[in-house]
Assembly symmetry: C2
Homo-oligomer: 145 residues x 2
DNA sequence: TCTGAAAGCACCGCCCT
DNA sequence: AGGGCGGTGCTTTCAGA
């Protein structure tokens, strides 16, 4: 576990709000020089606390307006790696969570319409040794910054 | 729904991999000038396809090593806004999904240890008119870039 | 570890095609 | 819509405290 001080937390919070915020903009806010801020952010990347930067996309604006979680249960012999591998080959799968207990995994999917969802679920059913699925249709979502 | 061409998709893919990639770095890859790339990204922000940029953090490196989904069910009279509001006031809540059917919502939480998880779940139980919870402990996860 | 300065680059607005 | 230029600001490195 990496030790982080208050200034680092401030920097992380600012970068969570806007990952393209400049060092020269953040420097006066944390009361350090631009070079010091850069050194800290570089260090956070080096130590693996910051794993990267990314863009946030509104997929509904691109026509992918339906989201769902699919709970999957497998036969007892199915290895975890297999579960993830079969799921992420599917382009519509956004994330895969392996779970302790029942269900065995939770798959976040994003699709264009209901027919498309049906197709993706059918695909998930066919892969691995799926013994059951339950689909949770997402009506709305909120994510912390 | 916004119309997007292949170059825009390329730009989005590159920015998903690294949200701080520069226009001058992307321009030769898509075969356009720097100015043209900037105009396209500006247009994607303007049209709402790009909602922002953010940093990706490895929370386990900071000691928040346990993740779980909590399925919540409410009394029939609980409005959706109430569900989300009570959940996101809790700092440990990363995301809230409102669901069609049962359960009524799915809450993604991140905590330091099991005792902490217990505390957060107790808090969720107390808020609103929760009639039941089910906790899915996350063993591993994979997210598409 | 921080600051400050200098050199290199990217960004951004403007004009032109 | 894309290309190119010039001014401005940011980034990056290095010396010094």
């Amino acid at each position: 576990m990496t030790e982080i001080d208050d200034v680092d937390h401030q920097l992380l919070r600012m970068l969570r709000e806007d990952g393209r915020r400049t060092f020269s903009e953040m420097a006066p806010e944390v009361g350090l020089s631009v070079a010091a801020v850069k050194r800290r952010v570089d260090r956070l990347r080096q130590s693996g606390v910051i794993t990267g930067f990314t863009v946030q996309v509104d997929h509904s604006k691109l026509g992918w307006s339906i989201e769902a979680f699919v709970e999957l249960t497998y036969t007892g012999t199915t290895p975890v790696g297999e579960i993830v591998r079969t799921a992420y080959k599917t382009a519509e799968v956004q994330a895969v969570f392996t779970i302790a207990g029942a269900p065995d995994s939770l798959v976040h999917v994003r699709v264009r319409d209901i027919g498309h969802l049906q197709h993706v679920i059918d695909g998930l059913r066919r892969t691995g040794n799926v013994t059951g699925t339950k689909t949770l249709m997402i009506l709305g979502s909120w994510t912390r910054n």
